[in-house]
């Protein structure tokens, strides 16, 4: 049974059909949110909230776009709100952040590999650019789909992506030159 049929049944109140949709999309929604937030626990929380919110608002989904696009739209917006509210979590251990414990300052320069450096730089991007970069590189979505998810225009999504890549490259190169 495809998404369309599952959605139709879920809209008729079939929670089992909705359960199947959750099963199908949960891994990718979580992974996308983990890429955007760089916070494992936050990504899990937002994934759960997104599916519950989607269920609550399922009547409003008119099936003009793919269910996944609509779902991502909810998930990314929730992540966006959560990141704006986000402050360092009390008692959150270093393992809370993705993917590794942060090294002590005196160890940092030695321990930091390129991937860790890149993650730090991505975290410094505006949330919208982070979302565009993730949806483009990780989810492999078209600019049109990204625009639909983020409620922006295709041109704006493309420009955001180019800005983000340019910034990341500039940071990347300047860090590489100083090491």
């Amino acid at each position: 049974m495809d998404d369309r049929e599952l959605v139709r049944r879920a809209q008729d109140g079939d929670s089992e059909a909705y359960g199947r949709l959750v099963e199908l999309h949960q891994p990718m929604v979580y992974a996308t949110l983990a890429k955007i937030t760089h916070d494992r626990d936050l990504a899990l929380d937002v994934t759960q909230d997104a599916f519950i919110r989607a269920w609550e608002e399922l009547d409003g989904f008119e099936r003009r776009s793919a269910f996944s696009t609509w779902l991502y739209r909810i998930a990314v917006r929730l992540a966006y709100d959560a990141l704006r509210r986000e402050r360092p979590r009390e008692g959150a251990g270093a393992t809370d952040r993705l993917p590794d414990a942060a090294p002590q300052p005196d160890e940092r320069a030695a321990a930091e590999d390129e991937a860790a450096l890149l993650r730090r730089r991505i975290e410094e991007l505006p949330v919208m650019q982070r979302a565009v970069v993730t949806l483009r590189t990780w989810n492999d979505l078209s600019y049109r789909e990204i625009a639909e998810i983020l409620g922006t225009t295709e041109v704006s999504a493309r420009v955001s992506f180019h800005h983000a890549i340019r910034r990341l490259r500039a940071w990347y190169e300047s860090e590489a030159n100083t090491r």
Binding site: G13, P27, A31, R40, L44, E56, D59
Partner: protein, 209 residues
């Protein structure tokens, strides 16, 4: 200077890397002979590759537990017929009424934007510019998109050209809302008749012509 003679811009580099099968164009010719640009392409490729790295997955147990929590919430929470904004059936007439009101309200001499045949005359007689195209687009959008409908009701679709006009627009918009409320109170048949008539309106017609 042709593309093959100059270094590629950042945009061209990104586009080149994103293309699964880049065309053999001037950029390709340039890349064939420019080590510096090839290095930049390699850099962007490395960056995109790093960006595609898998995020650490949550464990299967965590994901299963989460599915259970989601389903428990779903079962205990019969889907409320959540409606933040009225559905299409309500919005289409409302949106159409808003535009109709603007058309009715638009002062004499108001016209759609576009090349003015006589700019001097226009500046003397056009206190406001009624963006009819935009209004028409908004009606169409509002019919399918509650968010667009909300924007429509917040946006008078009129571009102020000076502060006095802005005030006039504000007054006009209040009137619009009144007309809209009146419209909502009409019978379905009457609303339908107005919508049919509205559908035949050529928004680009200059009321003066």
């Amino acid at each position: 200077m042709s593309t093959s003679d100059r270094h590629l811009s950042n945009e061209e580099i990104i586009r080149w890397v994103e293309e699964s099968d880049p065309p053999r164009d001037a950029a390709a010719v340039h890349l064939d002979r420019c080590e510096s640009c090839r290095a930049r392409v390699a850099g962007v490729e490395a960056l995109l590759s790093a960006l595609r790295a898998e995020p650490p997955a949550a464990s299967a147990t965590e994901m299963a537990a989460q599915r259970e929590r989601i389903l428990a919430a779903v079962r205990s929470r019969p889907r409320a017929r959540v409606r933040r904004l009225p559905r299409r059936a309500v919005w289409l007439p409302a949106a159409a009424a808003a535009v109709a009101a603007l058309l009715l309200w638009a002062p004499r001499g108001t016209r759609s934007p576009g090349p003015a045949p006589d700019a001097e005359a226009d500046s003397a007689t056009l206190p406001v510019v009624f963006d009819a195209t935009r209004a028409a687009e908004e009606v169409v959008e509002a019919a399918d998109d509650p968010d667009a409908a909300e924007r429509l009701l917040q946006t008078p679709s009129l571009d102020p050209v000076d502060p006095d006009v802005a005030a006039t627009i504000s007054d006009g918009w209040s009137e619009t809302l009144e007309i809209e409320a009146e419209f909502a109170g009409l019978s379905a048949a009457d609303r339908e008749a107005i919508l049919t008539e509205l559908a035949s309106v050529n928004f680009m017609n200059d009321p003066e012509e």
